[in-house]
Amino acid sequence: MILDELNKVFCRVFHAKDLVISLHSDASSLEGWDSLTHVALVSETEKHFKITFSFNEMMQFRNVGDLVNAIEKHLQQ
């Protein structure tokens, strides 16, 4: 499942082994999600799923759900 895999990425980036994310998780619900974390998330997600996001896509990520949808779209291509 994409969300489970993405959870591993989040745990790595946030340095929190027990972190559990949902599709609605965003910057306001996850402490420490700022621009530095966002860049690291995008970069680690791309590495983990072996995809490359466009700038426009990155700008549209508002929550984990958006990220999951974008990953799905790339994996289907």
């Binding site: 340095h15 402490e31 700022d34 621009s35 530095l36 860049v39 690291a40 995008v42 970069s43 700038f55």
Partner: protein
């Protein structure tokens, strides 16, 4: 026309009334006429520049969409022209006599053209507009009048907030029919007038004393001056934003909020999410994030590079003076430090109780901002250096210190000046404490009536009328 002038304060209700008689879908025509009149009566040269700039940007947008082959070239050329003209404006403002002479010989009144009011604000919006089209995030407007209204909309013309064309134009075509917006708009305009006349302008003499009085002041005065200026700047600029947002609401248009109680920030990065929000969003969307994204493989270094470039450009946008450069360098240092120590600070916030950590962080953040504003406000580098050296003096608390301290800030110690200073401090402190309640929009009723009555009475009894002091951000 300035917001705080009799013509504008008469013009606004008359235009608002006229708009009530028009069908909602026709109101944009009135808004366009009213906006062009607002600018034209203020500065005909500014209107000419605005028309040219708007037409240029409008047709560039169409060209970028229609011409796939050369779209990058058109986009880059358009951005270059806009950025160069911004740079020229700042260069001319900084007093370059050489440039004046060159244009004067060619028969050009450079100052009339480039001192065009609102130029730096709407130019940024134009750059944002064509960038959105280039990145295929939005489509160009097809109606030049719609775009002209977006550029010239009187409420946001001279000092923002910076808006996105599609969202605003959609509102022009279909303004809100919610009548409570009119009440909200009026409340907001009154609040803006109060903040400007009763708070910002009353702080101005004390700030001027510190920054213009010359040598021989102690560190306490300098610190107080920096704090008072920071608060004055906030009241001045947020007052303008209140009047802009309030004026727009009267016509059923919602503009972006520009401030979110910035003095509650617990970090400098949080401060920049609460201060001049629309400008920082612009820099984030078009400078910071594109740069950070492209350098993302360098992880933390990409963020530091993003901060460096964004704030250097922000400093340049504010002015070409060395003081603005130091101001932006300071913020770069603060933000880089925060970025590098993020985890340490996060751990500290978890270790210490909130009632200790949060006020401490808020105080430190406020002092850092005040320190940077010493350079923002100083008229030149000599004064900035002198103020910086004064900070290093002893924070003397000798006998008579308070009288000496206050009398300098109050302008020499005359009784009425001291009285005014204490009153100003009381208003300032009171407002900052109750800001959330005073800014909350109220529905028509006794509460709204009493609050508005109270604010208007204070404006007449304590507001500064004599100073023809323009809003500080209009100089940018």
């Amino acid at each position: 026309m300035h917001f705080l002038s009799v013509p504008f304060l008469c013009f606004l209700p008359v235009a608002g009334l006229l708009s009530c008689f028009l069908p909602f879908k026709q109101r944009w025509k009135l808004l366009l006429i009213v906006s062009l009149l607002f600018i034209g009566l203020w500065n005909p040269g500014a209107m000419l520049v605005l028309l040219l700039s708007s037409l240029f940007t409008f047709y560039t947008g169409l060209l970028i969409e229609q011409n796939r082959k050369f779209r990058a070239g058109v986009y880059l050329l358009s951005v270059t022209i806009q950025v160069l003209s911004l740079f020229l404006l700042k260069y001319v403002e900084s007093g370059s006599t050489g440039l004046h002479f060159l244009f004067h010989e060619a028969g050009f009144r450079l100052d009339l053209i480039l001192y065009a009011a609102g130029f730096s604000f709407y130019t940024l919006q134009h750059i944002g507009y064509i960038t959105e089209i280039y990145y295929l995030r939005s489509e160009p407007e097809k109606n030049p009048l719609d775009f002209l209204l977006f550029s010239s909309f009187f409420a946001k013309f001279s000092s923002g907030p910076l808006e996105q064309a599609p969202q605003l134009i959609a509102q022009f075509r279909k303004p809100s029919t919610d009548l409570t917006l009119i009440y909200e708009g009026i409340q907001r305009v009154v609040l803006g007038i109060f903040k400007k006349m009763v708070l910002a302008d009353r702080l101005s003499p004390a700030v001027a004393h510190v920054f213009e009085a010359g040598q021989g002041q102690g560190s306490a005065i300098t610190v107080a001056g920096a704090c008072l200026f920071t608060v004055q700047l906030y009241f001045d600029f947020s007052a303008y934003s209140d009047m802009a947002i309030g004026s727009a609401k009267i016509f059923g248009i919602r503009l972006t909020e520009n401030f979110d109680r910035p003095f509650l920030s617990t970090s400098v990065s949080e401060f920049w999410r609460r201060w001049h929000i629309s400008l920082i969003s612009w820099f984030s969307n078009y400078i910071y994030y594109p740069l950070v994204f492209r350098l993302r493989r360098y992880k933390g270094a990409s963020v530091l590079a993003g901060i460096l470039v964004t704030f250097l450009l922000s400093g340049l946008w504010h002015g070409l003076g060395f003081t603005f450069f130091i101001w932006s360098l300071l913020h770069i240092c603060f933000l880089c430090f925060e970025s590098l120590t993020k985890n340490i600070r996060l751990n500290a916030s978890r270790r210490f109780p909130t009632f200790i950590y949060k006020p401490f962080s808020t105080l430190i953040t406020f002092l850092l901002i005040c320190f940077s504003n010493l350079f923002f406000r100083a008229p030149d580098i000599t004064v900035a250096k002198q103020l910086f050296l004064q900070l290093q003096g002893p924070l003397f608390l000798s006998k008579g210190f308070m009288e000496g301290f206050l009398s300098i800030l109050a302008g020499g110690g005359y009784q009425e000046v001291l009285f005014n200073f204490y009153l100003t401090l009381m208003f300032t402190g009171g407002f900052l404490i109750f800001e959330k309640h005073l800014s909350k929009p109220l529905l028509p009723g006794r509460g709204l009536f009493l609050r508005t009555f109270f604010l208007v009475t204070l404006i007449f009894v304590c507001g500064i009328f004599k100073q023809a002091e323009y809003f500080i951000y209009q100089q940018f």
